[in-house]
Amino acid sequence: MKKTKFIQGNEACVEGAMAAGMMFYGGYPITPSTEVAEQSAALLPRVGGKFIQMEDEIAGIAAAIGGSIAGLKSMTATSGPGFSLKMENLGYAIIAEIPLVVVNVQRSGPSTGLPTSPSQGDMMQAKWGTHGDHPVIALSPSTVQECYTLTARAFNLAEKYRMPVLFMLDEVVGHMREKVELDSSLIEVIDREKPAKDDSSYLPYGVEGDSLVPKMAPFGEGHRYHITGLVHDETGFPTNSTKVADKLMTRLMDKVEKNKDDIIDYEEFMTEDADYIIFSYGSTARSSKQAVLDLREQGIKAGLFRAITIWPFPEDRIMELAEKSKGILVAEMNLGQMVLEVERVVNGRCSVNLMGKGNGEFISPEEIVERFKEVM
């Protein structure tokens, strides 16, 4: 299937989800993510998929988790206030190891904030929002085309690692319209590994050999078992053994930690000979790229590091870049979130500064250049 369209990022996200095999959407309307729900409502029944608008944000993610447990690739979408509400069930999906894609089209916060203005203010919340220690995968698209391809990747990571994947757009990427090639041949599709129907030794949370991901039998297809948010052993039944808890927590964290090479994605532009790096992601990276070109024109050897996977954080590459750079400028639509990670990882190897805005305004290339000159 190949089509060229001129659509919004939110709509492209749904196209990517459909290409990856999404068959269930449970959610609730919230600006600026509502188009994701609307597109899903329109497209899903055409292919026998299921859409349900639930009574609140919490029910939205709960229904999507239920859909995934029953065997369908599922998605939900929201923005800041809904993201906050979904946190408890997000943690549930993490410990119960349920594949899921959770889209956050970030708007300016906190609280009701500026509902129609962009921000990248939920990036730390993506990692720490739900209580307890937990692994996180979060991706950030920069273009409408990437909303298509990267959403599919989000589904693949969710299926491969049996966990929710957070898809962090911002209102700019979500609402802007660009040309997009909807080409299913661009999309690789990964499905969760299921046990054989007659496998009597199947343990829903057991792993074999080096694997860190248990096979997942959908409910209603021949394997009956218990799923709970309580700490549980390989049978799925709850336990309060701290030994078992340790084993489970280690494996959950290792799912991401030991597979960083597979999960981490980034894009570099003119970093080979760069003296200075601009670290950015999402729509801000578009302005950052232009800022690099503008700085180069002024004789400054700048380069762009665009993070595509935000969590797990691309520590190794940032450390490498810090070794050979004079400084890193982090450009993000917030008052300083990913800059904290950059600072932590760089650990004094070079200077780290912030070009941050948290007032609902998009960051322009000129602002980045001006800030660069101010601090670098």
């Binding site: 009574e55 029910a59 229904a63 988790i65 239920g66 859909g67 995934s68 369908l72 218990h226």
Partner: protein, 247 residues
């Protein structure tokens, strides 16, 4: 729990097709003891998870087990919307008039004046009539029985299971450990509490014939609502079928 499994057993369902979902609380631990597809979710959210399961696999028998706090406090919104949608899920609310798991706090079903750890001077809240709440929200099958009416409870759960649409059975039960220690002079005696349920229940059919004093404060048991209405997943399937036709 006994009534539930007996009722399910009597229907002869394929166990692989049965999914039991619960929230958080003592009653919500029940599915962990049952040999079906069992899902122990977050506090109050069982119906929302169950809705996802049922929408994805409408042929499955989906049953929700919840408590009075789980279903009518934090879960209240999901209860009324599931009823409104008339989605084919059978919900059994174990109403023991207290939050037992957390040590005995009052719930939206605790009688006014009763004592609980967060109402040490007497509960000033007026409780829900859970059956009326479900009826008001549009549930197409509503019934109430008690743990002391094993035969009636099992029978009415069976009818709820048979009913196509949202069915709710309020199963009044006891919490000797928490509620029973502070109230009605039970002194934590489980037998006394079960006896109380038996002696203070009035079948709905008898209510009209009895004087007001004999009905006030009593547990009214029986079937209150049984209507046939379009079921949610079937209505959604009609949309899907329309596209199949076009192809």
């Amino acid at each position: 729990m006994n009534s539930i499994v007996q009722a399910i057993e009597s229907k002869g369902y394929d166990k692989d097709n049965v999914c039991v979902v619960s929230g958080i609380g003592c009653s919500s631990r029940a599915p962990g003891y049952m040999d079906f597809n069992t899902l122990h979710t977050t506090h109050g959210r069982a119906l929302a998870f169950a809705t996802g399961i049922k929408m994805a696999k409408p042929h499955m028998k989906v049953i929700v087990i919840s408590g009075d706090g789980d279903a009518t406090a934090i879960g209240g919104n999901h209860l009324i919307h599931s009823a409104r949608r008339n989605i084919d899920i059978t919900t059994i609310v174990f109403n023991n008039n207290i939050y037992g798991m957390t040590g005995g706090q009052f719930s939206p079903a605790t009688p006014k004046g009763d004592y609980a750890t967060t109402s040490p001077y007497g509960n000033i809240d007026t409780p829900f009539d859970i059956a009326k709440l479900a009826e008001g929200a549009g549930a197409s099958f509503v019934a109430r029985s008690t743990a002391s009416h094993f035969t009636q409870l099992t029978k009415v759960i069976g009818e709820a299971l048979d009913h196509e649409g949202f069915s709710m059975v309020e199963a009044v039960c006891t919490c000797p450990t928490s509620y029973g220690r502070k109230n009605k002079g039970f002194k934590g005696n489980p037998v006394a509490m079960l006896k109380y349920l038996k002696e203070n229940s009035v079948p709905v059919e008898a209510v009209a014939k009895l004087p007001k004093e004999k009905v006030e404060g009593k547990i009214i048991t029986g079937k209150f609502v049984k209507e046939e209405r379009p079921e949610y997943t079937k209505e959604y399937q009609k949309i899907i079928d329309k596209f199949k036709e076009e192809v």
